[in-house]
Symmetry: C2
Subunit: 340 residues, 2 copies
DNA sequence: GCAAGTTCTGGAAACGTTACCAGTATCGTT
DNA sequence: AACGATACTGGTAACGTTTCCAGAACTTGC
C-alpha cells in the first residue's frame, strides 16, 4: 500500500507538502500541487483514514441510532439520510436498539468508543434532563421527533419533525367533520414522551374540541409500531368489545393496513362500515384496496433536513434548531361521510 | 480522554502489559491482569479504535452495499444483518448505490479507502470475471444472490440466497396446475444477471414445461423494483393490450401490490378475474385484501447466514461457500382455480 | 549447582498522518 | 539598499496502539 511518504519521495517534496495538497491548504504553489496530484493519481495513493483520525482524534462517521427499523417509514427516511450524508463526504453507521434500551447512554458510549462526530436519533423517546444530555459530547439531532415537553431548552437540542400532535388532531378533526363520533385510536404502547404519545394527545385534543369524552375502551394498543400480527389482534379485540365504532384513527400507515384487514375479517367493510385514517403516507398506501387516506410526511425534506442539520452542527455552521414540517392530506378511499 | 499510558502508569506496569490484557494475550499473570482490569474500570478507559486500526492496518467495519434499499424485503434483511454483525463485535456501514453504478469497483475502492474487513453485496447484479473479482482484496458475500452463470468458480465467491429460478418456476407451475394458461409476468428491467433475470428464467422454464410459447406481450417491465407508480402503470399497459390474461406472476411482493391495484382500477377483481402470485413473503402481504399468495423467503435465516458467512471468512474460519435456502408457499386469497 | 527451559515483563520501534515551527526565497516599500 | 511581509517548503513531534525483542525471575532436569 502506497503511503504519503512514497509520494513525497516520488515528487521530491516533503510529506508535509503532500499533506497540504491533500487537505487543500492554500500555502502550496500551483506547480507543486499539480505535481503531487499527478503522483497521487499515478501511484493510486489512498489516504489512510485511521492515521488521519488518530491525529485528529475523531473519525468521519455519523451514527444513526434507530428504534424500530422495521417501520417502513423509517426505512424510507434512512435511505434519504444515508444518501445526503455520504454526498457531503461523511459516512453513516447504522445502529439498532430495542425499545427497552436507553438511547442516550448508548449514544454517549458509542460516541466515545467509535469517535463519532455526530448522532442522529430516530424513533424512540427522548425525555432526558439537561444533565443527562450533557453526557453526549457530540452534536446530535432528533429525527422525526421534537422534545415538546418543556423539559429542555430549545438551544439544547436540534430536531426535525412534523408536528405530530397537530397532525393527529387534524386527522381526527376530519373524521368528526364527516359526522363520526365514535372514533377509536390504534397506537403503540410506548406512550412515554414518544411520537406515539404526541399523536395520542392530538387524538384527545380533537375529542375535547368536539365535546366527546375520552373512552379507554376505544383504544387499541400494541407493543410495537410494526408487529402486524399484534396490531391485527388488537384491532380484532377492539371490534369485539366495541362493535359500533364508525372510524379508526391509526397513528401509522402500517397499523392502518393491519386494521383494515381485521375489519374485513370481522365482516366490516372499509369505508362503508368503518372509516380509517392514518399518518405517514407510505408510497404503498396509495396502492391498497381501498387506498388509504393518510397524512403524508414529506420524507425527502425531513431526511435532507436531518442530514443538513447534523452536518452544519458538526462543521460549526449553525446553532441548535428545531424544524417542523407540514403534513399533506392524501385522500384515499378509506374514509366516508357518515349520513345523519 | 484517558489512554493506555495513563492506566499503565496508574498500575505501575508497562503499556505493553496493558495492551496484552486488552487483547487477552496469555502471557500475563492473573494478578496483573486483574489489577489492570480494575484500573480500566475505574478510569473508564476506552481503547482508541483509530490507533488500533492504524497499527493493524485494518478497521473493524463491514460494509453493506445495497442497490434498491427501498425494497421492503431488503429493509427487513438489513435489520437482521445489522443485528448479527454488531452482536459479533463488528460494525456495519451502509452504502447505497444507483442501479447504474458498478458495485465491484465501488466495493474495491471503499475497501481500500476505509480499510474495510469485508463487504456484503445486496441486490444488483454480479456478472464479473475472476480477474475483476481479484480487485476486491477483502472477503465478500453475495446476499440474496448467487452467481449461477458458470462464469465463476464456486471457490471464488460466497453467496446466500434462495433458488430464485426454482422459486419462480414453482410459482408459475402452481398457476398452471390451477388451470391458468395465459400468465403474465411483472418484472424489472435490470435483467442482466440479477435476481430478476433468474426469476424471469424460472417463469420461462415453467412455460416451456407446459408447452406454452413465451409471449413478449405478456411481460410488464419497470425500471425499478419498488417504484410503485411505474409498476402500476406497467400493469395497466399490460392489461390494456392483453385483457384476457387470467394470472400474473410478480417477481416481488411490492410489485404484486401495485398490480392488484391496477387490476382493480381496470375493473378486474383478484382473484375472480385474475390470480396474482409473487415471491418475497413480506409480513405486510398477509394483511392485504385479498391476502397475497407468495413464496416466503426465510429472511431471518438468510440474514444470519450472510452475517455468519462474512465473519467466518474474515476470521479465517471458513472457505467460500454457497448457501441456498428454501422458500415456503404462503397461500393467500389472491389465487384461484380456473374452471375449464 | 548449572544449563536450559518457562513465564512474565518492559522498552521501543513501528503504523500513516497532521500540525506546528523554523526556515528560505521573493517581493514590494520606504 | 535595507526591511518587513508574504509565499512557500521541510523537518519533526505528536496521536494511541500493537508487536517484536530482550531480559529478569523462576522452574526443571540432570
Amino acid at each position: 500500500m502506497t503511503n504519503i511518504k512514497d509520494i513525497a519521495r516520488y515528487c521530491g517534496v516533503a510529506v508535509s507538502t503532500v499533506s497540504r495538497v491533500l487537505n487543500d491548504h492554500p500555502d502550496v504553489s500551483d506547480e507543486t500541487r499539480e505535481k503531487v496530484q499527478r503522483a497521487i493519481e499515478e501511484l493510486h495513493y489512498i489516504p489512510n483514514n485511521s492515521a488521519r483520525n488518530l491525529v485528529k482524534t475523531t473519525s468521519d462517521t455519523i451514527a444513526l441510532l434507530v428504534k424500530g427499523v422495521n417501520n417502513p417509514f423509517f426505512s424510507r427516511l434512512i435511505k434519504v439520510i444515508e444518501r445526503e450524508i455520504t454526498a457531503r463526504g461523511y459516512s453513516l453507521e447504522l445502529h439498532q436498539m430495542d425499545t427497552s434500551e436507553d438511547e442516550l447512554r448508548i449514544g454517549a458510549q458509542l460516541a466515545n468508543e467509535r469517535k463519532l462526530i455526530g448522532i442522529l436519533f430516530l424513533g424512540g423517546r427522548f425525555n432526558y434532563t439537561a444533565e443527562e444530555i450533557a453526557l453526549i459530547n457530540v452534536p446530535f439531532v432528533l429525527c422525526t421527533y421534537t422534545n415538546t415537553f418543556g423539559s429542555l431548552d430549545s438551544a439544547a437540542y436540534s430536531s426535525v419533525a412534523i408536528d405530530d400532535r397537530q397532525a393527529a388532531r387534524f386527522a381526527v378533526d376530519m373524521l368528526f367533520s364527516l359526522g363520526h363520533r365514535k372514533i377509536a385510536i390504534l397506537a403503540d404502547d410506548q406512550t412515554d414522551k414518544s411520537i406515539s404519545e404526541l399523536r395520542f394527545q392530538g387524538y384527545k385534543d380533537a375529542l375535547a374540541a368536539h365535546g366527546v369524552a375520552f373512552d379507554a375502551n376505544l383504544v387499541a394498543c400494541t407493543r410495537s409500531f410494526s408487529d402486524m400480527r399484534a396490531i391485527y389482534r388488537a384491532t380484532k379485540d377492539l371490534l369485539a368489545r366495541e362493535s359500533s365504532i364508525t372510524a379508526i384513527f391509526a397513528i401509522a400507515d402500517v397499523m392502518a393496513i393491519a386494521a383494515i384487514k381485521a375489519l374485513s375479517d370481522s365482516g366490516k367493510c372499509v369505508p362503508d362500515d368503518c372509516s380509517v385514517v392514518a399518518i405517514d403516507g407510505l408510497d404503498l398506501s396509495e396502492y391498497l384496496l381501498p387506498t388509504l387516506t393518510t397524512l403524508v410526511q414529506p420524507v425527502e425534506e425531513i431526511g435532507i433536513a436531518c442530514a443538513g442539520t447534523i452536518i452544519d452542527l458538526i462543521e460549526g455552521k449553525g446553532e441548535n434548531r428545531q424544524y417542523t414540517f407540514e403534513t399533506i392530506l392524501r385522500e384515499g378511499g378509506s374514509v366516508r361521510k357518515l349520513e345523519a
